[in-house]
Symmetry: C2
Subunit: 206 residues, 2 copies
């Protein structure tokens, strides 16, 4: 029976298995937003999703498993990098996408819950690492395109440029607890661009 | 009796009240490092500090009160800003101080526990805001001195410069879960300096 339902999920991606996953991840997100990682329970997720507890335990194993799968889904849903033809506009688009995500009521709360969990839970750490690596790699391509167009110095480290735009936003959000808005995001993008143009993102010889 | 002991604390800062506070804050820190904010209990702190529970409840009120007082103490113990006469060396000293703190076994774990709590607890938010504001203001003075020496453009926002050095370190530590070391800290300081020299930290007209 279990064997059959797994097979079914494999061959019919829009079928019952996919619907169960969508319902469970939606419930996981709602529970995270309302109760945080420490308040998340498998039983409550199952109840909220209208799915049997055994199914949730069997397929996700633990609340960390739920959160990891949720982050995979969020990464898949995230939009691809901008390609405006101008590095300034591409980096501003990146900054606006990040500020939009972290200040979104549900999405921002989801990220914060997983980040809080990541201070003490190894599986949450893996979920964070995979999600952000994927997003940073996706957006680093705008820097590579700018280098090809001659807008930025040869050897500019695209991943570091993208990290440098997000960093001040998350720092305010999580650490100094200062406001994060589009103005802060804009400053982060423009300062990073100024540093990149000055060659500060070309790795130094060791 | 309660009245007397408070008075005693006020007039004899090195006396019993100060010793109790030191023991309780030390125990709070140990418990935070071992169990995180969610595992912190007033009773366990009292037991570890060898202090009566009623004293801890009366003077700190809640675990958030303990954490807030711990952050005040950590801010008081933190070293003043560098003053090497060179903005590059001052900013590198800032970056090394930050990386030293966040990678220190006990201090780093303490910060992470309070930051995790700050995603869902209003008093932890206040404790973080007060601590980091104080540290940022202290180090922003190195930028003001550099502007006076003519090393950086007039109007450079010192607090933003200092935030920009810490931000990539905390972003890796908390969000992307990538390694944080002296090389990362050095890059953060030098890139921020490049951006500051390019005038990127002079606020734009609105």
């Amino acid at each position: 029976m279990e064997q059959e339902s797994r097979l079914a999920g494999t061959v019919r991606p829009g079928g019952r298995t996919a619907r169960v996953r969508a319902a469970v991840l939606e419930a996981t997100r709602d529970e995270l937003v309302e109760h945080g990682f420490h308040g998340l329970t498998m039983d409550q997720v199952a109840a909220r999703a209208g799915v049997g507890k055994t199914t949730v335990y069997r397929r996700w194993g633990s609340r960390a498993g739920l959160v990891t799968d949720l982050m995979i889904e969020l990464a898949e849903q995230s939009s691809p990098h901008a390609d405006t033809g101008s590095i300034e506009d591409d980096l501003l688009a990146n900054a606006m996408a990040v500020v939009g995500a972290v200040t979104d009521h549900r999405l921002g709360a989801t990220f914060q819950a997983v980040i809080a969990a990541g201070t003490s839970d190894a599986q949450a750490v893996q979920a964070l690492r995979a999600f952000y690596l994927r997003r940073i790699e996706e957006w680093a391509k705008v820097v590579d395109l700018a280098v090809k167009r001659g807008e930025l110095p040869e050897g500019t480290d695209g991943m570091e440029v993208i990290r440098a735009i997000s960093a001040p936003l998350y720092y305010r959000l999580l650490v100094t607890k200062e406001p994060v808005d589009q103005g802060v995001a804009r400053s982060a993008a423009l300062r990073t661009l100024a540093a990149a143009r000055a060659g500060a993102f070309v790795p130094l010889p060791a």
